[in-house]
C-alpha cells in the first residue's frame, strides 16, 4: 500500500516535471519574429516576359462574416508599396483597360472558422474577392496551380496574387503565377508594410522584367 502511494506520487511528480521543463517557444517571441512571408511561383514561367501590370484600386477584405472592398490608410499604403516594388523591378504600371500583362489582386483575409481542409488560393473563391470581370474576363475563374502550398490557420493575413493576363486567352481561367502571403502578428499594422512587402520581393529575385 505504502509502495503504491509512493509510486503514484512519483508519477505525479514526473508529470509535473515534464510539463514544467519545456522551454516555451512562443512566450519570448516578438511580433516581428512571429511573422512569416511565403511566396509561391510558377517555375515554368519566365517573369521577364511580362512588361506591364495593373493593380486593384482597393483591398478585398475577406472573412467568413462579411466581404467588402476597402481603402483604408493601411490599404492605400499597402497598394503603394507593392506598386513601388514592381516598378523598381522594371514593370510598368498601366490602366486595367490598357491590356496589362499582369493583374495584381490584394486581399486581407480574416478567417475565424476552424476548417482544416483548403485548396491553394482558397481565398479567391470567397465572396469579396475580385470577380475576373474586373480584369475584363467576366464569367471566368481563377486558377491556382496545385503546387501552391498554403498553411491554413485562423488568423489575419494578407494575400497578394499576381495573375497572368498575357496568356489568358484560352481556357477561361486567370492563372496565378505568383502569390505572397503575409502572416503572423501585426500584418494588419501599417508600420510593418514596407518591411513585409520588401521581404517578399527580396526573396523573389526572379520577379524582374528584362531591360527594354
Amino acid at each position: 500500500m505504502k509502495r503504491t502511494g509512493l509510486l503514484l506520487s512519483m508519477i505525479a511528480v514526473g508529470a509535473l516535471l515534464i510539463s514544467s521543463c519545456r522551454k516555451d517557444p512562443l512566450n519570448d517571441m516578438t511580433a516581428e519574429e512571429s511573422r512569416i512571408y511565403v511566396t509561391n511561383y510558377d517555375e515554368q514561367v519566365d517573369f521577364s516576359s511580362y512588361k506591364t501590370f495593373s493593380i486593384v484600386d482597393s483591398v478585398a477584405v475577406i472573412s467568413n462574416r462579411d466581404a467588402t472592398k476597402e481603402l483604408t490608410q493601411y490599404d492605400a499604403k499597402l497598394l503603394a508599396s507593392i506598386k513601388a516594388n514592381l516598378t523598381a523591378n522594371g514593370y510598368a504600371e498601366v490602366d486595367r483597360n490598357a491590356d496589362p500583362d499582369l493583374a495584381v489582386n490584394v486581399s486581407r483575409i480574416n478567417t475565424t472558422s476552424t476548417s482544416i481542409g483548403y485548396a491553394p488560393g482558397y481565398w479567391s473563391g470567397w465572396p469579396g474577392y475580385w470577380d475576373p470581370g474586373y480584369w475584363g474576363y467576366p464569367g471566368w475563374n481563377y486558377y491556382f496551380p496545385p503546387y501552391y502550398s498554403v498553411f491554413q490557420y485562423n488568423e489575419k493575413s494578407v494575400a497578394i496574387d499576381m495573375l497572368d493576363l498575357k496568356t489568358a486567352k484560352d481556357d477561361n481561367q486567370l492563372t496565378a503565377v505568383w502569390n505572397a502571403m503575409l502572416r503572423g502578428t501585426g500584418v494588419w499594422n501599417s508600420d510593418n508594410i514596407d518591411t513585409m512587402v520588401k521581404a517578399v520581393f527580396d526573396q523573389s529575385a526572379y520577379l524582374k522584367t528584362s531591360a527594354n
Binding site: R3, L6, L7, M10, G14, L17, I18, C21, R22, K23, P25, L26, M29, E33, S34, R35, I36, Y37, V38, T39, N40, Y41, D42, E43, Y147, Y148, S149, F151, Y153, R183, G184, T185, A199, V200, Q203, S204
Partner: protein, 206 residues
C-alpha cells in the same frame, strides 16, 4: 516472470557471480537524476543547443548484489531559435524565424551490473536500457507550428558510479554517462544520437 528470473540466474552464473542473495540493502530502489544532454549528428543540425532541461527516474529490483532489473523514464528538451532566413522549396520561398524543438520521453527496461561489492565505498556499474521513446517534434515557422508525435525504438547503454553515504547506507549518490540511440527519422532528422550526463540520488526503499 519466473523464466526471466531463471534466465537472469544463468546469466549471473556465467558472469561468475557467486555472492548471490547476500542482500545488504533493501532490493527495491528508486533513482532520480538531473540530466544534461548533448545532441549529435542530424539532431544537432536541427537543434544544436545542449538540453539543460532534463531528468531521469527509475525503479530497480536487485536480483543479487551485482545484478538488478528495472524500468526508467526520462525527459529532454532540444531547442534552437534560428534568426530570420529564407527557406526555399519547390516553387516556394518562406521567410521565417524558425524555432525548432524536440522533446523526448524515453521509457526503457533497464538492466544493471555492479563491478564492486555492496560494501565498497564506490560502486562502478554498467547498464543497458532498451525500450521506446516518445518524440515530440515541433518546428515553429514564426508563430505557426508544424508538429508531429512519433514513437521510436531506443537503446541506451550507460556507465556510472554509485557512492553510498556510508557503508551499507540505503542512500547513494549517483553519477553516470549515458549514450542514447533512437531509430527516429522525421523531416531533417535522420537519426537520434545523444550523449547524456546524469547526477542524482538512489534510494533503496524496500
Amino acid at each position: 516472470m519466473k523464466s526471466i528470473k531463471v534466465m537472469i540466474l544463468i546469466l549471473a552464473g556465467t558472469l561468475g557471480v557467486h555472492t548471490a542473495f547476500a542482500q545488504s540493502r533493501p532490493p527495491v530502489s528508486f533513482q532520480l537524476n538531473y540530466s544534461i544532454t548533448q545532441p549529435f549528428g542530424s539532431l544537432s543540425d536541427y537543434a544544436e543547443g545542449t538540453s539543460f532541461r532534463g531528468w531521469n527516474a527509475g525503479f530497480q529490483y536487485s536480483l543479487n548484489d551485482r545484478l538488478s532489473l528495472g524500468v526508467k523514464a526520462g525527459f529532454a528538451d532540444f531547442y534552437e531559435r534560428v534568426p530570420r532566413a529564407v527557406y526555399p522549396g519547390k516553387g516556394e520561398d518562406i521567410s521565417a524565424v524558425q524555432t525548432r524543438t524536440l522533446q523526448t520521453i524515453p521509457i526503457l527496461a533497464a538492466a544493471q551490473y555492479n563491478f564492486a561489492a555492496p560494501e565498497a565505498r564506490v560502486i562502478p556499474y554498467a547498464g543497458l536500457g532498451i525500450g521506446v521513446a516518445s518524440m515530440s517534434y515541433e518546428k515553429y515557422w514564426g508563430e505557426f507550428v508544424e508538429k508531429r508525435n512519433k514513437w521510436a525504438f531506443q537503446v541506451s547503454p550507460e556507465l556510472g558510479v554509485n557512492v553510498p553515504f556510508g557503508k551499507y547506507s540505503p542512500v547513494m549518490f549517483n553519477a553516470n554517462v549515458q549514450y542514447n540511440y533512437a531509430a527516429y527519422k522525421f523531416q531533417e532528422i535522420s537519426n537520434f544520437n545523444t550523449l547524456q550526463a546524469n547526477i542524482g540520488l538512489k534510494f533503496h526503499i524496500q
